[in-house]
Symmetry: C2
Subunit: 296 residues, 2 copies
Amino acid sequence: MPVAKPRFDRVAVIGVGLIGGSFALGLKAAGECRTVVGVGRNPDNMRLARELGIIDAVETDAAVAAQGADLILVATPVAQFAGLFARIAPVVIDAALIMDAGSTKQDVVEAARAGLGRRVGQFVPAHPIAGAEHSGAGAAKADLFKRKRVVLAPLEENPVSLVADATAAWEACGARISRMSASEHDAVFAAVSHLPHLLAYALVHEFAGRANSGQLFGYAAGGFRDFTRIASSHPEMWRDICVANREALTKELDRYIEKLRALRAPLTAGDAEALEKVFAESRDARNRWIAGGFDT
Amino acid sequence: MPVAKPRFDRVAVIGVGLIGGSFALGLKAAGECRTVVGVGRNPDNMRLARELGIIDAVETDAAVAAQGADLILVATPVAQFAGLFARIAPVVIDAALIMDAGSTKQDVVEAARAGLGRRVGQFVPAHPIAGAEHSGAGAAKADLFKRKRVVLAPLEENPVSLVADATAAWEACGARISRMSASEHDAVFAAVSHLPHLLAYALVHEFAGRANSGQLFGYAAGGFRDFTRIASSHPEMWRDICVANREALTKELDRYIEKLRALRAPLTAGDAEALEKVFAESRDARNRWIAGGFDT
């Protein structure tokens, strides 16, 4: 038990799934919060979260949970953010730090400006880079964010001390903090996350729609399984991400189509040397990445 | 020790790597061969294969190994097939079954017709669907092909009894046998195997070539890792596969580019419903596949 006083007294976690639940557990394990109030619609999930010690109390109304809270994490699907921000705005206290855990940032900032109004300066946009196939409070764990990256995209209105609190909260969960603007965030993740999801969905959909789909899937093996793993992701979540980040994602899609067109030429020409150069450079870059060569 | 006489007396395995070595071990474990002669250029690998009991004798000349063999497996990179077929043709005995283990089939059949000449009717093209990240004799294991598929693409010239022997040899290793024509094989694998490799290489190469590649790889996470795992595959092997199967692969690449173009429309329009439909159908198809719903 840490001797120091917890940094946060009353934490409201709105959406107690994998991310929200793990955040609560991480803060608790670090002794950085006194009590956690959870908000959720699914009674079974909330009961489980209570039983697992993730939260100390259950509320169904986000405004009731946010009242008096000095840390509010909004960890629901992004589509609910606008309504939730508007709902909690009237009860947010001056000392409160508000954060989200959404996969896109420009749309979230827009929703926060609209919903939180004069409280928007207390909102520090955050994106923890830690997902998993499993969801719900039952999948939450205190070390989910350990050594994982959390991107903070602070607003101009954020006081320096508040960004420091946001940093401290995620660091208490073991995360490594990066900072970038919301637009830079969305451009980077359009490339390394949203595009691969779109590509994987597209490939599976292409084969599923063919007359010989049974034959194709019947011969698909390990390479196809890994390549398409992310095509088993939540359709609703990825629909929302793609729509929210459609501008940056369209740019990435266009660049990728251009890349494929450029590769088509040596392929049809049977230009072995050109193909091997691309493949070898790709393998080298990926192996360097896997070995930690791009860690900053 | 099985009581029955082994089906094969002298087996020549040309190229004692993961595939050739595992085939030898599988046949031995099933009691289906008396002795295995291995052919390879790398003395360390051949010594290891001998020490591990994968092979009983080492030869450097494929023609010497093939002499008197009643089963010859050519398991080198496909680029060496033409020369090897020509080299062994003069010594192949009437009773010999010749097979390969290449990832493409039409080019292999062409090489076999040219190199084996009047012996081509003894050649049963085979493609075991079992790879792994590891290679070399040290990675070989008797159960590599257990419950894995092996596609046979018999020639019109193959006697029925010879195809039965080919089937029995792979079944002795635990494999499930499928049959299709060489062109059907190449079309199917262009889609479910060769295209994903090309797409993964292309994505890594696209990001590696950008000014902010360090930033992009720095934020790439688990989804990207799995999606691009096959971009760490051997560049030379995939160069050969792509060149050999460029016609079918170009067709698949064009269809995929068309698919991406079709997805671009709902994306730019922010058509959430259309995107969710594609994503949900993809997830359902993939989950059905993972659950064995497309097994034949």
